[in-house]
């Protein structure tokens, strides 16, 4: 009760917001975020939008600028359907990894929610985008918006010149390979400026014109065709094409014999966007955890400093606890582990380990337990981890007990699932590494690579799927995707499933069998 007496410091009293109040709140949040939490952020740009604009943003995978494609319309119809039926609310905010960092705030939010959202998006996510190594390495926050602007205009121009249908055909196929359109290990080439890109495109056109010459220079197949000779040729060929190649879109863009320069450019645009979103998919837990931890800390501090009222704080806490709600596996609401819940709990847990460690924590985390400087520990974790490594490093037994995590092994050949480990002394390690693995994109995503291409013969393109733990591909989707590859490659394509461990061949399918 004593808090409600001293109302003079309150940043806002009513639930209506205006730009003046937003500025005041921003300043107060900024002070804590930069001064106390030592966050390091891109300059902020906060944009107020309506729900329709939010749906628009949803459907264009959160980008403020996006080229036109029917699949975004499909997503819009889908989201709108859910929203109008009340199945799903809209996010309170949406934040874009760009410099300046753009955050969308919904106009329906109350003042308290706007404060929460600013702390969450404009500081939490913003800091993460700027500092996490994945984003620093794979994305170009400064140039993404201008690149998207270029992409949008370029594709619109292509549509004018070549017709919407022709552009859509290429984009459809490119979208199908988006997951296989990223460099996982190699550094993606930096986005160059408009001028350089222009030059690159000219070079591409030149290469296109002189393409056949390149192949003529390859050594001719000998008639006697000795085994080792052919093997050597194949090795040679693979080396020349940098095979195996994990980035299918990149390979097709550079090597496909049938694509026109503008079609290659379309592949490149899709590939760049896929690469841009690649880190986000690997840091969902950390990103949301970081933002949630930041808003939680800041809002509590504001409340402690009597800057926000009890009523507003209650509203914020209610929203906060909704966000980090984690239903049990047998709950009808369960739909996987909530990244907000896991991320926030782990970061809170790190704070606890740093300040009030138990003897167990001292055993598990000797280097941070009791060190007291949780801020540095967290800043370091945010900067240098992705979900997989973060969980592997920081998931504590206390948290495993808290969530009562257990590990389930599901073998397709067995009529039952077996509980492999639970939250006990013997299970901690296993659960921790199993959970970490489930966030490893290299494991959860099918690994499909280009392994060989018979350029001198029928130009048959060979893909290989590294089958892990016997998990094969969904057949109809696989065949449909292969048809897309064929469309971009122009000649027959085959996919071979090879067990990643034993090298045993599990299946093979080709566009020859499945037809157009």
């Amino acid at each position: 009760m004593k808090k409600s007496e001293s109302t003079s410091d309150l940043l806002f009293r009513s639930s209506d917001w205006n730009f003046e109040k937003l500025s005041d709140v921003y300043a107060a949040i900024s002070e804590i975020a930069l001064g106390d939490l030592k966050l390091d952020i891109y300059p902020n740009q906060l944009e107020i939008i309506s729900w329709e604009q939010m749906l628009d943003a949803y459907s264009s995978i959160g980008m403020p600028l996006m080229y036109q494609h029917w699949s975004f319309g499909k997503r819009f119809v889908f989201e709108e359907h859910l929203y109008r039926k009340g199945h799903r609310g809209l996010a309170y905010e949406l934040v874009i990894n760009s410099n300046p960092c753009i955050s969308y705030l919904m106009e329906e939010n109350t003042m308290a929610m706007q404060a929460l959202v600013i702390a969450h998006a404009a500081f939490g996510h913003n800091h993460f985008f700027k500092n996490n190594y994945m984003f620093r390495r794979w994305t170009e926050a400064a140039s993404i918006l201008s690149y998207m602007d270029f992409a949008k205009k370029y594709i619109a121009r292509c549509e004018e010149r070549h017709g919407t249908a022709a552009v859509e055909r290429i984009l459809d196929s490119a979208h199908a390979l988006m997951d296989q359109g990223v460099f996982r290990y190699r550094r993606a080439p930096r986005l160059s400026s408009e001028k350089e890109r222009e030059r690159a495109r000219e070079r591409l056109e030149y290469e296109e014109q002189t393409y056949s010459d390149l192949w003529r220079t390859l050594p001719k197949k000998k008639d006697d065709g000795r085994e080792d000779e052919r093997e050597r040729e194949a090795r040679e060929r693979k080396r020349a094409l940098h095979l195996p190649e994990e980035n299918l879109l990149y390979f097709l863009e550079k090597t496909s014999l049938i694509l026109e320069p503008w079609q290659r450019e379309l592949l490149r645009i899709v590939r760049v966007i896929a690469q841009y979103f690649y880190p986000q998919r690997q840091t969902k837990v950390m990103n949301e955890g970081c933002a949630t931890f930041v808003h939680h800390t800041i809002m509590n501090r504001l409340y402690d400093d009597d800057k926000i009222s009890e009523g507003a704080m209650l509203e914020i806490l209610q929203s906060h606890s909704n966000v980090i709600f984690q239903p049990s596996f047998d709950d009808p609401r369960f739909s996987g582990i909530n990244p907000y819940a896991l991320g926030f709990a782990m970061m809170k847990d790190i704070e606890r380990i740093c300040t009030e460690p138990t003897s167990e924590d001292r055993d598990w985390f000797p280097d941070i337990a009791g060190s007291g400087n949780w801020r540095e520990t967290l800043l370091d974790a945010w900067a240098n981890h992705r979900d997989e490594s973060f969980i592997l490093q920081y998931l504590s037994p206390a948290l495993i007990r808290h969530f009562r995590l257990f590990q389930l092994t599901d073998d397709a050949g067995e009529p039952y699932c077996e509980v492999a480990s639970i939250h006990n002394e013997r299970g901690y390690e296993a659960i921790r590494s199993a959970l970490a693995r489930s966030y490893d994109i290299g494991i959860i995503q099918p690994d499909v690579q280009v392994v060989d291409v018979d350029l001198l013969g029928d130009r048959h393109l060979k893909l290989q799927h590294g089958v892990k733990q016997g998990v094969v591909l969904d057949e109809s989707a696989r065949n449909a995707t292969l048809r897309h590859v064929r469309r971009l490659w122009g000649y027959d394509v085959s996919l071979e499933g090879v067990d990643a461990r034993s090298g045993e061949r599990l299946y093979e399918c080709s566009t020859k069998q499945i037809g157009e």
Partner: protein
Amino acid sequence: MPNFIDRRLNPKDKSLGNRRRFLKRAREELKRTIKEQVKAGKIADVDAKHFVPMPEDGTSEPSFQSARGSGKREYVLPGNKEFAPGDRIPKQGSGGGQGGSRAGTGDAEDDFRFVLSREEVLDLFFEDLELPDMVKLSLREAIAYKPRRAGFATTGSPTNINVGRTMRNSYGRRIALSRPKREEVEALAEEITALEAKPATAERRRRLEALRQELEKLERRRRVIAYVDPVDIRFNRFEPQPLPNTSAVMFCLMDVSSSMGEREKDLAKRFFVLLHLFLKRRYERIDIVFIRHTHEAREVDEETFFYSTQSGGTVVSTALEEMLSIIRKRYPSKEWNIYAAQASDGDNIAGDSERCASLLHEEVMRLCQYYAYIEIIDERETEIFGATDNGTSLWRAYRTVGADWPNFQMTRIARPADIYPVFRKLFAKQPLS
């Protein structure tokens, strides 16, 4: 300091173009789905709302996805209550492989369906048939009249007098012409009586005389100015309002004798689907009476009509008789638009075709709005019967009917592709008689 931008006033519907592209794409799929649903379904299904699953082919976005229920997987799940290591949990259902963990994922999209209204279904269906503006094609419209109140009239039958309006006019006229009120007259009469009771003096006599004159004047005035004058009287006025007759009945007469095979029945069915749709668009209510006949006719339900395999000889006139008896029983022609479509292969028992023609001449055509006869012939026969003059016995008999009745049409169908052109020919705009 941050940069605040109010985007709310920016144009909305940034993704409008995307949505349009999507719908255009989905449209082809929807059209195909509808056509298939209609082909597979019953006639009556066409008018209902259709739930069309999100079109898969044209609008799917495939990618390499792990197949569910393959290989060995591991899950980490929260909320353990009773499990210990080594516990085995039976998989649910045949799908298995999900360990109860993926229950919530991936299902959302399956629930996403287009709901097409009847109109949209029909639009898609007709569009596919390239029926550009079917609605404008009009059958001769049957009109019934219903009296409707339309203000007041100065003439009319006494039963239609509008008392309120009449009295209002009379009151106004009485005020305007200052007709003496009864109270005034009575007061005067009372005063006279009072004076008469008193002993007469010269002054009183004079006063009495004046009062009597006054009374007489008032009474004369009351007589002249009637309480209710014919001028005042108003009648309720009724105007006959034309009402489109909204109920229609369609008789589907089909020959199911042994000569009609599956192919013939299928053609007939398709024709009836189209006819039904057309009528459904024009009338709020439509009844369909299915009559199938061999050597005897019977009213049947849709299921039997199309799918029963009963067979026998052929006496076409039984169907017409059955139809007439149903009309007499249930569908008085004053209230119903009666349509009939007859499909047959034209074979008939000797002598019966003439009887059919005379039935049509004398009774049926008088009752029917429109009568269409479709003869389903073999493809090889199209060449033989290229000219319309010769043909089966029924065809020849019906030609005499067609000559006399403009609302009788007959045509031949040999292939599914004929149905729409024939339909169009049958239901082309006819000059009003």
